[in-house]
Every structure is written in C-alpha cells, then in structure tokens.
C-alpha cells in the first residue's frame, strides 16, 4: 500500500489516500485494545461485538449514539477551527460549560415564551457565552502574546469553579426535594426534541458542520483563517488583520463549543448540572485530530467516538469489561492518528506534506 500515489482521475484512490491514516490508526487502536482485553482475561471479540450491539443493536441505542455524537461534533468543530487558524483550543471544555449553564439559566428563568422563541434564544445565549469565553484567550494571544494552550488550560479550571459556584449559589435549584447543586429544569418551551429517532440537535450539528466546511473552504473569511493558520506573517503582508482573525477564530470556536453545551442542556440533559458535560471538550481534540480538521470528517469521527461511548455500557453489562478500556482505545487512537509518523513508521509509508497539522509551537510570547 505504500506505493499508492494519488492520481487525478481515480477518486477512489484519492479518498483512500486521505482516510488511510485515520483508518489504520483506528484498526491499530482496536488491536491494542484487544491485546489489553486478552491479557486481562476478557474475550476481545465478544467485547467488541457487544460494543457494536450497544451502539447499533436497536433504534434506541442508535439514538443514544446520535445524542452522544452531537456535542462531540460541536466541540470537534471548535477544536478543528482553532487548528485551522493555527490555534490549539484546549479550552473547548470551558467554553462548552459556559454555554451549557447559560442556556440552562435562560431555559429555566424565562417563562411563558413560545418554544420557537425560547429555543433559539437559549441557544443564542449559550453561543454568546461560549464566544465571549473563547474571546478571552483570543484577546490575550493577540495583544499580549500569551499562548492559548496555557491560557485555555487555566480557563477550563476557572470555568469549572465558576459553574460550580453558580449551580450551588445564585442559580441553584431550590425546588423542594432537591438537595444537590444544579440548576432548575428548563421550561418545556426551551427543550429541543427529536424527529423520529433523530435528535434535532444532531441535525443542527450536521448542518453546522457543513456550514463550517463551506465557510472554511469557500469564503474569504475561511481563506483568511487558513492563511493565518499556515503563515501569519504572509497573512499580515497580504493585508489581513491577523490579530482580529485570531480573536475571531477563537470567538467562533468558543461559539461552537458554547452551542454544543446549549444543545446538550436543551436537548439531552434538560438542565445544567455539574458533571453532566465532563470530558466533551477534551474528546473534541480527539475528534478533530481524527478528522484531520475536516469539518465533514468531524461528523464521522464524532459518530465513531459516540458509538464507542454509547456502546460502552452494553459492553460492560454483557461482556463484563470495564469502561476504561474505551479510554485506552481512544488514547491509542489519538496517538496513532496524530503521530501519523507512528503509523507510517509501523507500516513504513511515505510522507505527504499537506496532510500535516500545523499548530504553533511552544508557548513563549512573540
């Protein structure tokens, strides 16, 4: 397979060429997972079969997979967009939390609105919250050169503290019977439902993914974002406002994550509650890297991760395999797909330049 080179007229080969690394990474990760399962006394075939059944065994299971994929699409898009602009947005988690809690607040605190007003209003507030929170590392990066990796790591912790404070303090659910820290349930008018088995949130996510694909590949804004990501100096030379673009990219990234949080609150959980959105932002990194930053591929990689997460409990139930095996598989998958070099090294494949991911290195200042 190493001799394959893309030829202009064979699109199948082209597709294979662009998906072969992620594909092989997934296979390798599953093999690693199987080895771990095997040596710890489980039957990997049975485990994987149950995993598959848990994800796709029934319409209901599949619906859960879609539900689990939805926020991953959003956070994956958020991270991918950041990568496009040369930014490593580890802060999707924090932005998502803010979006989720603000949507939850708007969802319960405003009453008597028709749902065609309430739903978009709450979503919009979630988007704005995520966008504003994303703007912080953007502004810091543009004006003081503070590296976004370090600021977003720190902002994630601040977001956790902030949402914990809000859900145990001013916005706590004071209804009789409740004893834990959480926000009240959102009004029915703010809830997002399903069309048949398909959650509307998932449809929105897919549409947004296509929208982002269009923006990135077909608009001047996307051209600018790509340019800044690949070569900020040349972008400045070309008259692009690089600082504004960095901020804009992180705002859009934050908005996507915030929207993901809002959809989660309004479509799945029904309220904001600490702990219900754990890890989604970090999974977004895996999703984006697995998709090699392509917005369309983000949908596919989210479905893959969503299926693994959705099927995990069935696997645990019927195959008696601890859930953490999913973490191991996911970590290995991330390793293999990002360390394209690892896969190439294993399979001795040749290198192709444009498939690389450009991220700014280090976190020194300008």
């Amino acid at each position: 397979m190493e001799s394959v080179t893309p030829s202009q007229n064979n699109w199948l080969q082209k597709v294979w060429f662009s998906v072969r690394i992620p594909f092989l990474a997934i296979i390798l990760a599953l093999i690693v997972g199987a080895v771990v399962l095997l040596v710890s006394g489980s039957n990997p075939l049975e485990a994987y079969a149950q995993l598959f059944k848990g994800a796709f065994g029934s319409l209901k299971n599949f619906q859960r997979v879609l539900e689990k994929s939805t926020p991953l699409i959003f956070s994956g898009l958020a991270v991918a967009l950041g990568f496009k602009a040369g930014l490593f947005n580890i802060g999707a988690q924090g932005q998502l939390l803010l979006g989720a809690i603000i949507a939850g607040f708007v969802g319960f605190s405003i009453k008597g609105l028709p749902s065609y007003v309430h739903i978009p209003l709450a979503l919009l507030c979630g988007i704005v919250a995520g966008a504003l929170y994303g703007a912080i590392p953007g502004l810091l990066k543009a004006f003081s050169g503070a590296h976004e990796v370090i600021t977003t790591i720190m902002l994630n912790y601040i977001a956790i503290n902030l949402t914990d404070y809000l859900s145990d303090g001013p916005w706590k659910d004071m209804s009789p019977g409740n004893i834990v820290s959480r926000l009240p349930a959102i009004e029915e008018s703010a809830k997002i439902g399903t069309i048949g088995p398909v959650p509307i949130g998932f449809i929105v996510a897919v549409l947004i993914a296509f929208l982002i694909w269009f923006v990135i590949n077909r608009t001047t804004f996307g051209f600018e974002i790509n340019s800044v990501g690949l070569n900020p100096h040349a972008s400045k030379y070309a008259g692009m406002r690089t600082k504004v673009l960095i901020i804009a990219a992180l705002i859009v990234s934050g908005a996507l994550a915030g929207l993901g949080g809002a959809v989660e609150t309004q479509g799945v959980v029904g309220r904001y509650q600490p702990g219900f959105n754990a890890g989604i932002g970090f999974d977004g990194i895996t999703v984006a890297l697995l998709a090699r930053n392509s917005p369309i591929a983000v949908i596919a990689s989210s479905l893959l991760l969503g299926a693994m997460k959705g099927g995990a409990n069935t696997m645990q139930f019927y195959a008696n395999v601890p859930n953490e095996i999913i973490d191991i598989i996911q970590g290995t998958m991330l390793l293999f797909v990002t360390a394209e070099m690892v896969v190439r090294w294993v399979f001795k494949m040749r290198k192709r330049s444009e498939t690389e991911i450009t991220v700014t290195a280090g976190w020194g200042q300008r």
């Binding site: 503070a146 912790y157 970590g331 360390a339």
Partner: protein, 338 residues
C-alpha cells in the same frame, strides 16, 4: 541595530529586582514571626501544610523545567504523575518495600518521559498533542488496571534530622519531614546548580534556546533532550510517588486532580527557574493552607473563588501584565539535523 538609548532613568543603576525580593522576604519573615508569637501551633500547621501541598507541585514543576529547558513542551506531567502514583502504590501493596516502590515510581515516570521524548524527538509529533495522549492514556490505564481492595503496609514517616529539628519555627518546618519532601527540597537546589553552574546545564539551556548552535559545537542535541526528559520523568515519578507513598498511602483513580497542570502553572510562574518555581509552589500551597485555616477559624468564603487563584494568577503572568516570563526559544520545535 543599536544606535542610542532613547530614555534611561536616573535610577536605572539600582538593582530594583534584588531589593524587591529582599523586602518581600523580610515582610514574609516579619509576618511569620508575628503570627508565630500569637499562635505558634496554628502558624506551624499552616506552614507545614503549605510545604506539603507544595512538594508535588515543586517536583512536577521541576519535571517541566528540565523538559522545557531542553526544548520539549510537556503538558503530560499530570499523566506521568498519575501513572507513577499508580505503579508505586501497586508495588508497595505487593512488596511492602517503600524504597523499592519509590524506585518503581521514578522508573515509571522516566519511562513515560522517554515515551514523550520518543514521540517528540524521533517522530516529531506535536508535543502538546503528545502530552494530551499521555494524559488520556494514563487515566485509562490506571482506571482499567486499578485493583480495589489492595492495602499497603504503610507510608513514609517523618525523619527528624537530629538537633536541627529542634530549631524554633524552621526546625519542624524544614528538618522534620518524610524523605520525598527532603528530596524535593534538595532537588530544587541541585537543579538550580545543575542548570546554571554545570556543563550539563549549560548544554541543556543551549539546546532549549538554539539547538543548531549547540549542534555545531558538537553537543548531541538529541541525547541532551532525551536525557533531560528522562530526568524530568524521574521528578514527575517522585511527585506521583509522593502522593501514594508519602502523602496518603493510598491510590485513587484520578487522584492527581489537576496537580500536574498546576505544576505547569508553577513552572511558568517561576519563569522556568527551579528556585523561583519552588517559591511559586509554596505560594500556591500557602493559598491552599490559608483557605483551610480560614474555614477552621469559621470564616466562610466562596471556596470556588479561592480555587481559581492559581489559574487566574497564571493567566496574568503569562499575559505579561505582571512580570513577563519568557519560555525557552526553541521549545516545542522538533530539531532536525539537516
């Protein structure tokens, strides 16, 4: 091109930095003495708690310093600590030999370090992603393999250093500690000397700033990087072992609870300098001990805001609002021999 200095103040010859630290040190000393006179037990408790909270942060930050001074970004400290905490605990549970368990913890940290080094040096993987992979894998592996119900025969106890331990205030604080704490204190000083006063340190810093320059002088960039990440791994291993062998004597899933990331903050706060980072760790430790002490005294403050302090401070420092800190220039960039 230098032509002339535009402005230079009349006091520019005074070393403000030095004076600032001297004054700060005197103020801290005065405060300690004041509180010690009022309530010796509480003061001692807070100070010792400060040190204890700081130890894993110091060790984690030293890991970061060695890696990053050599040009390798390490955000996988959290994962390194967690894995080392896990293996040293399991070893302790099986063998009951604390020293051997400590050794296993250090070896684990260094193996994970080697893994990161392999990814970033050999495979030229983006180092931030490499660290992320380590964190995810560490959580998965420890969660999957942790056996509940194992118990250990004990943990490291304090070793008073003879008459030194009887010195008022600093005696119990500095000279009556368990071994890893001593090791951490010694390592801070040793690291400072190694980095700034030895051949190894000079080469390490050169490799982190301008690897090609070092290479042209016959310095083996890859070797320096590998070994520093390895040394860093030992430090992270110590930090992890501290949690299970000296701190609690117990392992729990995810028990590092973000200490690896705070260590990163500490490193930046301390400007990639061992002694300054130790000071920063002590400061964070003090904030934590004070938060506990205030609760003991019945003063309730929204603890979430106290919890934010280290993170907010790090953002402020990294943004250059107060005391700008500059990372090693070649950090995060894989070195390629042409």
């Amino acid at each position: 091109m230098i032509s002339e200095t535009v402005k230079r103040g009349p006091f520019s010859h005074i070393n403000w930095k030095l004076w600032r630290s001297v004054i700060l040190a005197l103020l801290i000393l005065a405060a300690i003495l004041f509180f010690n006179a009022r309530n010796p037990a509480e003061t001692r408790a807070v100070l010792r708690s400060t040190l204890r909270y700081a130890v894993p942060l110091i060790l984690g930050a030293l890991c970061g310093i060695f890696c990053e001074r050599a040009g390798i970004v390490n955000i996988g400290i959290e994962g390194q600590m967690l894995l080392s905490a896990f293996t040293s605990y399991m070893t302790n549970a099986w063998t009951g030999n604390l020293m051997f368990s400590l050794f296993v913890g250090m070896v684990t940290g260094s193996i994970v370090g080697l893994f990161l080094a392999f990814l970033s040096i050999k495979l030229k993987l983006n180092q931030v992603i490499g660290g992320t992979v380590i964190n995810i894998l560490a959580a998965g592996i420890t969660g999957y393999f942790y056996q509940v119900g194992t118990t250990t025969k004990g943990k490291f106890a304090s070793i008073p250093l003879g008459p030194l331990a009887d010195i008022p205030i600093i005696g119990p604080l500095l000279f009556n500690n368990p071994p890893i704490t001593y090791i951490a204190i010694v390592l801070v000083i040793v690291s400072q000397i190694v980095l700034f006063n030895t051949r190894w340190g000079l080469r390490t810093r050169a490799v982190g700033e301008h690897p090609r320059a070092a290479d042209t002088l016959g310095v083996d960039v890859f070797k320096i990087r590998y070994l520093n990440v390895l040394i860093g791994g030992v430090m992270a291993g110590l930090a992890g072992a501290f949690l299970t062998l000296e701190g609690v004597g117990l392992f729990e899933r995810g028990m590092t609870n973000g200490r690896g990331f705070i260590a990163l903050a500490v490193m930046i706060f301390g400007k990639w300098n061992p002694i300054s980072s130790a000071m920063a760790a002590l400061f964070f430790g003090f904030a934590n001990a004070m938060q506990t002490q205030l609760q003991f005294m019945g003063i309730q403050i929204a603890h979430q805001f106290v919890g934010m302090i280290p993170y907010l401070l790090t953002i402020i420092v990294v943004s250059g609002f107060v005391g700008r800190s500059r990372a090693p220039a070649a950090e995060g960039i894989p070195y390629e021999k042409e």
